[in-house]
Amino acid sequence: MALRGGSSLLTRGTRHPVFRSWSGVRSYRFLPSSYHLEDVWQKRLTTPLMRDIRIEEFYVELRKKFEADKSGSPLDMDIFANGVVQPDSLLHLEELLAYFRKSRNTKFMRRSTSDAVVRAFMDQGYYEELMKIIDNKVIYGIFLDYYTANLLMDKSLELKRYPDAVRVAIDFMLQEDFGHPLTRNLSLYSCLAFLQNPDWTALAPLNPPVPPPDTGEEVLVYVPFLKNEFFDDHFDLTDPKARLGKTLMTAGAQSNDLLGRSARLMGAGLYKKWEKGVKILTNLNTASADNGTVLSEAVDSFLEALKQQPEPPEDEKVAAERLSWVGKAEELQRSLRPAGKLKEGKLLDLAEAEVKKVVEQSAETDISTQQSLYEKWMTQRENEVNRQMRQFELTERLKQLQAKRQQLQAEEDVLFFFERKNQWEKMLSPEARRSLLDQQVRDGSHYDYRVEDPAYHVEQIKPPTTWTKTRYWKTHQDKYDEKKKAIIERFGADSLY
């Protein structure tokens, strides 16, 4: 892993120049400044638990713990992520996240952890590193929620880091989770804003698979079965154009309005789903005048993508098919225009207006729900720590009591040794008893003081018993008889035979 080799974070120094300290005023593209919930977020550091924490020492301890038992505690991880306020700790956070992801407890990662990670990196202005973490689910396992995604997308738009905003949108496309109107519209806006001046190299995969070093020597790796090549057209998508196109399609499919339809059509062009694009156009042709409108910009971009020669050049068969789609799409475009279904206007402006509208509608509720969530997480964290502390104290107390009990027992054994000499000797094995007796006879020290006891009788040393069926039967005969009796009483004598 690259993390162990050295610092990826600190040496690169990619802190964004527009960084402002968290105590300053925040500015956003669309969201109100109250959306950041600065005060509520800072409140987490005022609790006695977080106040006392020393993050460097905590890191060392956590690291030791991870290396010892390979399964970290989700609570520790959460506390660490929430405690990060300095850029130096971000590297440690990244490292611990990777450790935690490898453990089986990763399933129990708290929702607040991913929130805290995103906010920690955002507050320090390390956007590139944050994108790397969000992009690689296998190594870090950070999944965004609607609130942090909105925050991140809006901040990226404000800083004009359009590829970052698009990456967040793509993340939601991969999760197929555009349930929140604000997230959906911000994603659409981010993609369209990126498309104004697209730099596709900036959207290249962040964690490309590393080919093994070529040593010139062929190494044979034996496996039971070879895995066939498989392309799922979702997680395996690496082409930035296709990813962005699919994002536009999935986000646009959530709402059947002018923006949604246009985005879907544009996305089909980028994603090279010609059939789906032409289907959208035919649906528009048959739909009513209200539900059948689309921006001519989207149709033009779809046709442009359709007519474009791909590189490297495709087969003749594929090219012929594509040309047939071109004919159909152009015909549909010609029929849409006189029906008044092709609207003029810019898609980006439409998306911007939609985002502004949605912000007015849902920002308030988002803020209130997130505020209550932060407070809930804070109390939950405190309660959980208190519970675990209490548990720890109890186990410690129990250990102390057990030690005390053992000590008392030892003292009692010493004090009452001669009274219990019988019992001690009984605990010996027959051979040891015999040898002890011989020793005492040889010494002349043998005196069987037990003869003074009127209830004393000499125990015979029995030969070792071997287990046989009849012996077992004889020893347990009473038990069997009882069972038999019970069965006969309940079911009758016939039931036994």
């Binding site: 990763t106 399933k107 396992g141 020597e217 066939n228 498989f230 997680f235």
Partner: protein, 210 residues
């Protein structure tokens, strides 16, 4: 090429289960996955993820999943799925989930079967000749063709619908069979193989000498 992987060829196409699930939020709890091996059935077959026990190995090969298993339109309940190491798992996109689940009615436990087989078939030539000869000798009507009623074996995976037969196993040869009213020319009651050849298959008890 420094690495060369050697192994037997596989007929499966897809991914390991946890190769998919570890990319999803909450390990895909609530999502639907399916196997390419089950695509050959016309009825819906899928797994609705309920809980996971990941191992987090680098390939995503190992781990257990608790899922609501639906096999050929039949809900088998929540089961532990341990076949995640087979490389033929697929994630069902959310917009296609309805096509899997809509066929499953919430109250019905399974889909009605539509595998209809004939209730009776014509006899093979030699048997037919024998029977018609026998009928002619005894002075019966020989213009109608004799028909052999079929008795099908039924099991948990095999329960076809027979035309006109609603009763289960072995009902086709019973005298009260509705087939006699539907197919008047059938000689279902008295045209058993045992009637033709005599009951030769007698069960012999084996004796063991101790």
């Amino acid at each position: 090429m420094p690495l060369r992987i050697v192994g037997r060829q596989s007929t499966l196409s897809g991914k390991y289960l946890f190769e998919i699930l570890r990319n999803l939020k909450d390990f895909g709890i609530g999502r639907i996955v399916t196997r390419s091996l089950l695509e050959r059935y016309p009825e819906p077959c899928y797994y609705l993820v309920r809980d996971v026990r990941p191992i987090m190995d680098p390939e995503g090969k190992f781990g257990l999943m608790d899922a609501d298993v639906v096999f050929r339109g039949k809900n088998l309940g929540t089961q532990v799925v341990s076949t995640g190491f087979k490389a033929d798992w697929k994630l069902v996109p959310k917009d296609e989930e309805a096509s899997y689940t809509s066929q499953m009615k919430p109250d019905a436990k399974e889909l009605p079967r539509k595998r209809v087989v004939p209730a009776a078939v014509p006899f093979p030539p030699v048997l037919r000749r024998l029977l018609t000869d026998e009928a002619r000798k005894s002075g019966k009507d020989v213009t109608t063709e004799p028909i052999l009623p079929l008795t099908l074996l039924r099991g948990p995976q095999n329960y076809p619908i027979q035309e006109g037969v609603e009763a289960p196993l072995g009902a086709a040869s019973s005298p009260g069979n509705p087939i006699n009213t539907i197919l008047p020319q059938s000689m279902a009651g008295h045209l058993l193989i045992s009637n033709v050849f005599g009951n030769k298959r007698k069960f012999k008890k084996k004796k063991f000498n101790a």
